[in-house]
Symmetry: C2
Subunit: 455 residues, 2 copies
């Protein structure tokens, strides 16, 4: 029997609007606080870093926000992305479950990140911004924003965590191929970078340091440069909802509706972009899809962190937001191969987990790579380390179905390919990866540094 | 105005047959000769290395050969592949030309190679083969065959040129992730490998040595292992024609027919797979599409080689075929970043060039990387070094149209993404790449080693 593997949307079906979950959030948002005064920030404070159009999206409660035509024209270079029925994986697992996955790895940089990078570049260009700054860890976000800035004729400075800059040069090269500048952070280009180097000239850097450098450059540029963030914030998750909106259309083509929707979470943009349109259906149409956020056991903000006000960065320069956090002083273990290493979490995702609308699960890395190889050897695609967390949970649920005999519909997001991450697979195959549980006393200690606020 | 960027075929439009150009070749094929006797080989001789079904495809003159359903089921994991109108590139070039490209980089290994890897694995499995051997240079072919063998439950030994094994480990890791074994060639696993190591323990290896090792393992396995080749042979090009057949359908969707079809050539499988269906139209329907094979100036078999009988490998173990060759002793310069380094060329492609049905052009590597960055910065996708040769020719032709004002339809094949090849871009951006012209006297010298045959 000939089976259908892919559900492909015509370009004309590319969504015309992003979905803003603020319109349907069952809980009121917590205020965003100034890092020094600890009072709610005004749009003016944020406007040093972001164009007003993005700040307005951050606080908008409109349900749908139109995707500007120039953004859609760029999206068309790879969107709509394909949606697959995982027949071969189902057979290998011998499960009655129907497993589907959305594949964002077909974007030119191999991940979902351009969905918001292109939008942010567009709105900045529209606002007259000539240059952006950003940070990047292994380079996934930096390469997406480099491509986007190039499309809109803007300069970009990327502060890349030094240890990644040196050890994972491929994405650095991608960033440079699109014409952006990359600096190994900490640099001597910023006050904060110089202060770090003064204390430790051999500092390997961290995402926290890189954020602070990128923010400082934008904040002290006299308005010529703005700052761009690749996750966590509401407008970032908003732009990613183009993923979930496409999946809703593709599930219609397949004639199914999911019992379970699964996505991995680091800062929350992949999860929000994939799951929020399904939450809308849960909230407004009485659907009862189980929504699962899969995070690494080595960086377990949702499952072991506290839902509290905390700084967005290590240097306490970013606003204070209410979120699941491991503490802004948290340093993720370097033994972990994946990229889901942020100490905090999107405030929207955090609130949804806190109030029971989303279930959070943590997964150990050895189990994720085992699942990743099962996936690669059946479906062909080698996943990036991040979505392997979603694959692990999806396989676990499919195996439960095998026991119960239930033909549940399980849908997950494969947010990127692993072609830049083969060293992690190599380490796994050589038995060099280990699992890591962050010690409870260290989390406890980090929690003692949370800011005291009146909200 | 909203423009259409992609022409996407539904899975149901996946071609059901490959196109065999032997049916329409305007010139008779030259015989394939035994490397020792120099007499025409029989199918029995080849059956040590290949299953009879593939040997029969090699010599078939049937116009269409049905794609077996199990092969189509695997193809569906990524096929049909997308076909793009390069609106953004056209605008950047300010050309009236209509530029289209087929994109094979969406396959799980990022290139067109699985089209034949899957077919070869299937036919071998069907014939009772338990294991395959092959060689690979930078790993593109090895990773494709590793994926394919895994799908059909067969073992695979890959002999990977040692210098690539050490310097370009990512594709080696991809091969291992699919469960195949990879050896840095020359190895001590074969007589030929041991003889090379005895002469030079630090030999960096070469594709010629790796071919000889893979062939030796299969030939001496007592029938338990067969050998698989990723280019050059007729059946390999046959399997790749699924690309061109899809493009014909996609051009219909776009309502255009090409004035020019361009593909890069190393051994010829990418070129044949893309261009042969258009040659059918030229031969049988009176179309007059110009068909251009783009090859590197540093390995110019079509443009500077001789159309003559030569060995397929350096060790003179492979059959002698009539082709454009730089001589089986030719060693391609290591300065060239691309993978198009074979001394010979597909006999079918060679005959078509020799008799004027295909135009061959050579391109310098600095010009290809310049074109690649123009492409990446407009269309988003970073191309593998091989298809940059086709892009260079396509851009040159589009710029000619700008001068003449002609709105020619130019179609090329983007046979893979460059995510595994970023080091080449890095070298280009740092000014470390140079152009290389193979000295005429060295080609002359290599020609003096061609075998003397009676045909």
């Amino acid at each position: 029997m000939s089976e259908q593997y892919k559900y492909i949307l015509d370009e004309s079906k590319l969504p015309k609007a992003w979905y803003n979950i603020n319109a349907d959030m069952p809980v009121a948002p917590a205020p965003v606080l100034h890092p020094q005064t600890k009072e709610p920030v005004t749009p003016d404070f944020l406007s040093v870093l972001f164009p007003m159009s993005l700040i307005m999206q951050e606080i908008s409660t409109e349900r749908y926000i139109e995707i500007p035509e120039p953004v859609r024209e760029v999206y068309k270079l790879w969107r709509p992305t394909p949606f697959f029925r995982a027949h071969r994986l189902e057979k290998a697992l011998d499960t009655p479950a129907h497993i589907y996955y959305k594949y964002e790895g077909v974007s030119p940089v191999g991940s979902h990140k351009p969905n918001t990078a292109v939008a942010q570049a567009f709105y900045n260009k529209e606002a007259g911004t000539h240059a952006l700054t950003t940070e990047t860890g292994a380079g996934q976000w930096g390469s997406a924003l480099a491509m986007a800035c190039n499309f809109f004729g803007m300069d970009l400075e990327v502060y890349m965590v030094k240890v990644s800059y040196n050890q994972k040069p491929y994405r650095r090269m991608v960033i440079e191929s699109y014409g952006a500048e990359v600096y190994a952070s900490p640099t001597d280009r910023t006050n904060y970078g110089r202060s770090v180097l003064a204390q430790d000239p051999d500092s390997p850097g961290s995402l926290g340091i890189a954020i602070s450098e990128a923010v400082e450059v934008a904040a002290t540029s006299g308005g010529t440069k703005k700052y761009s963030l690749g996750s966590v914030l509401n407008h970032v998750l908003l732009h990613q909802t183009v993923i979930g909106e496409e999946v809703l259309l593709q599930l219609e083509m397949a004639g199914e509706y999911p019992d379970m929707v699964i996505a991995c979470t680091g800062g929350g943009s992949n999860f929000g972009g994939f799951a929020f349109p399904f939450l809308r259906k849960n909230f407004t149409e009485g659907k009862q899809t189980k929504i699962i956020a899969a995070e690494p056991a080595a960086s377990p903000s949702l499952t072991r962190g506290k839902y509290a006000f905390d700084y967005g960065d290590t240097a306490q320069m970013a606003p204070i937001v209410k979120m699941h956090t491991l503490g802004h002083t948290f340093v993720p273990p370097t033994i972990h191969a994946g990229g889901l290493r942020y100490h905090g979490m999107s405030p929207q995702v955090s609130a949804l987990v806190e109030h029971g609308f989303v279930e959070a699960r943590s997964v150990n890395q050895l189990a994720t790579f085992e699942a990743a190889l099962t996936f690669a050897r059946t479906e062909g695609i080698i996943p990036a380390p991040e979505p392997t967390h979603a694959i692990r949970v999806a396989i676990d649920e499919a195996l439960k179905c095998k026991e119960t005999g239930e033909a549940k519909v399980i849908v997950f997001n494969l947010c990127g390919h692993g072609h830049f991450d083969m060293a992690a697979y190599d380490a796994y195959l050589k038995g060099q990866l280990v699992d890591y549980e962050y010690p409870a006393e260290e989390i406890e200690e980090a929690m003692s540094h949370l800011p005291e606020v009146a909200f």
